[in-house]
Amino acid sequence: MSVILIMIPVALMLAGLGVLAFIVAAKGGQFDDLDTPALRAVFDDDEPMPKNEQHSEEPENEDE
């Protein structure tokens, strides 16, 4: 039974570590936006850039 004397502080320390990790995450801004990450999950991976039409620098000029 006396093992509990050690285990309770250990368990509390583990819980403390969890809280600490949460605080670090919250201070780092990980919980600032709870909506957008949910949407990101539906995106597919990006396709590679088309080879023939490389990054035309000023596409908006086409209409000016």
Partner: protein, 823 residues
Amino acid sequence: MVPSVDERGSGDEPMSGIPQDNSECLCDHCGLVVPMGLFESGEERQFCCNGCKTVYRVLRSAGLEGFYSVRDAVDPSPMRAASTGGAYEELDDPAFQKSLVRALPGGEVEVELLLEGMHCAACVWLIERLPRVAEGVVESRANIRRRTVCVRYRPDKIQLSKVAQKLDRLGYAVHPARGGEAREIRLREDRRFLVRVAVAGALAGNVMLLAIALYEGEHSGMSPFWQTTLRWYSMVLGILVLLGPGRLFYRGAIASLRTRTAHLDLPIALALTAGGVWGAMNTVRGTGEIYFDSLAVLVFLLLVGRWVQHRQQRSASDSVELMLTLTPTSATVIDDQGQSRRVPIESVEVGMIVAVGAGESVPADGEVSEGETELDVSLLTGESRPIVVGAGDRVTAGATNLRSPIRVCVQAVGESTRVGKLMELIAQASAQRTEIVRFADRVAGRFVIVVVVLAMGTFVYWNIAEGIGIGIEHATALLIVTCPCALGLATPMAMSVAMGRAASAGMLVKSAAAIEVLAKPGTMILDKTGTITEGRARVAVVLGDTRIHEMAAAIEKHCTHPIAHALVDSCDTDLVASQINQTIGQGVQGVVDGVFVKIGSPEFVLKDTESNDAERWVDEVIALGHTPVVASAQGIGVCVFGIGDQIREGVVESIKELIAGGWDVRICSGDHPEIVRRIGNAVGVEIAEGGVSPEGKAALVARLKSDEYARTVAMVGDGVNDAAALAAADVGIAVHGGAEASLEAADVYLADMGVFPLVRLVKLSSKTMRTIRLAFVISLSYNTIAAVLAMTGVVNALMAAVLMPISSLSVVALCVRSWREDV
């Protein structure tokens, strides 16, 4: 996938129909109908405007056509693209950048921008692919709730204005996110709140684990050593909860004592203190109940309730903040050499000359130095008719230029403009607004007194009967068992449920107090322009030849005047006009089909046309309360239009419903008294006042609120002219399309057109208050039963532990249940 164009109409029927009827061919980008004039036969893709075409090309050249598949998967409804085509030069101004851009190590910088029109997953997807469209951009992170994007870029490779241009060409108009520091502070506050909840939760969980061991141990005969050990552990954790996250309630209680107002934090703090102190004493003594498990869970649950409410309120004010930023932030300044330059509005000074193009709004008060035009001042005064200004006339900031470019010599900027002074008035009114005593706090006030008296009675009785130890024990048990946990949960829970429901129905509630005020009928003052009416001119009556109507519309297509828009909207025509010649403030003339046509005020048109019919019709139109506009076509005849501000759809029914619900509905407007009275008659409102100045509106609200009438006043309006009244009222409600001042002053913002949302809001409010009252009844009955048991000394630790969470749970269940029901 992008629907193929083959299934749609081809361009074989040239100019046979009007664009609106051409529902066969839809824009490949935005899904709107492609106007016939822009139909390109033989092209695979069709676009409704150059904006859409540009966006499509930008996307394709960057290999981002996947946007369409994401969009079609999540939200296939057509959405207007908001590309403005602006150059955003003002963003490169060093002074502007200093407050906007944050430097990061490695030569990169970070900037936060507000985007108009970001609304779904496809938008997020597209915006986050900005690095592929704009070289030099390292990363782009969107936030859908706040409609912002955080862009990291290399300033040596790309200018901020170019970044903004790219975003704009993708269809999202860009606005700098102002007030960065205030937002930073709020963000930190939010994080602290979340940490508080987490700490309380973790501690409460561990105290509960220990409590389970203790309860179980009581039955199975735990040795005193272990009991003492576990009790000491509980005490340490419990005190940590009280001193850490629980500090919030002590702070509230102290503040409420200092201001001598009742607040729910007071009984909570009382119970926490009594439980904490007595629990600690019992731990040291080694006998009796320790309470720390209940206290820890109590603090945790209360914090969760408040956090949920806090989040709802924050998201509503974030959305309103976005609206606030949608105002011009730059002006075109003409320097001594006659060169024009876009600068941020902050750097405009008195004595400068600014150019105001057609469709732009005047950035500062001043005198017209060059040009002649008509201005729409309805936002400022509520006057629905445009005013004519020429060189030497004074103009005020916020007016919209309707016709031709003017130059204005600036005489007042910022706070010294008329708008600035009105804003000051708003700030004053907001500061004076008496915080209504919340229902929960009113109950709490009596609650504290009752509980304290009962506790003292219990103590005295048991002290005499059984001695001081028992007396303290039973009195403390009473204080803890009657802690208004459910009471404290009910309000935030029900309020946040209501605010969430309101937000999903397009009503953003900034303060929970608004819901409480709207639950009981009082006086509701409605503004006319933009609230009851659409706020823009419409053709209400047409008397005379319809062919002339078409010709008039053809000519007015070339004008930007509101009456011109009204005429164009009222009639679809294929006729083409030429030789257009406008006379400011009077009318316009041109040639259609070889016929000379003149449109304008009766004096302007009829001075060289003789027509008895026309004069009779003009009188008829005036009698109906509309503004007469006459069109004459040489050799054909005349036609008279009655132009009026159309009453919004459903307003009559909504007002009827409000009146039936016991509201005293009035109209108060800055427009001409005659027009206001007529509108009042039309919608069934008896008291309709016109010609009221912005200051007059605020005074009216104050008078109704004063002792003479002592009514709760809800003010509904849209313009700067209503803002002071909105701030002065018990609840200010800004309607769709309102000016920024009105949004700032209001407690509620209706994102949908018309007054109908009002009816819903009123219903939702009274329903929410019913839920809260019911929750109070339930939790008070629990508390009463518990109090009786505690006073008689029957209550034991187990009972208290079971009773407390049950009352909280039933309250939460009640609030969540109300979420599911329809309003």
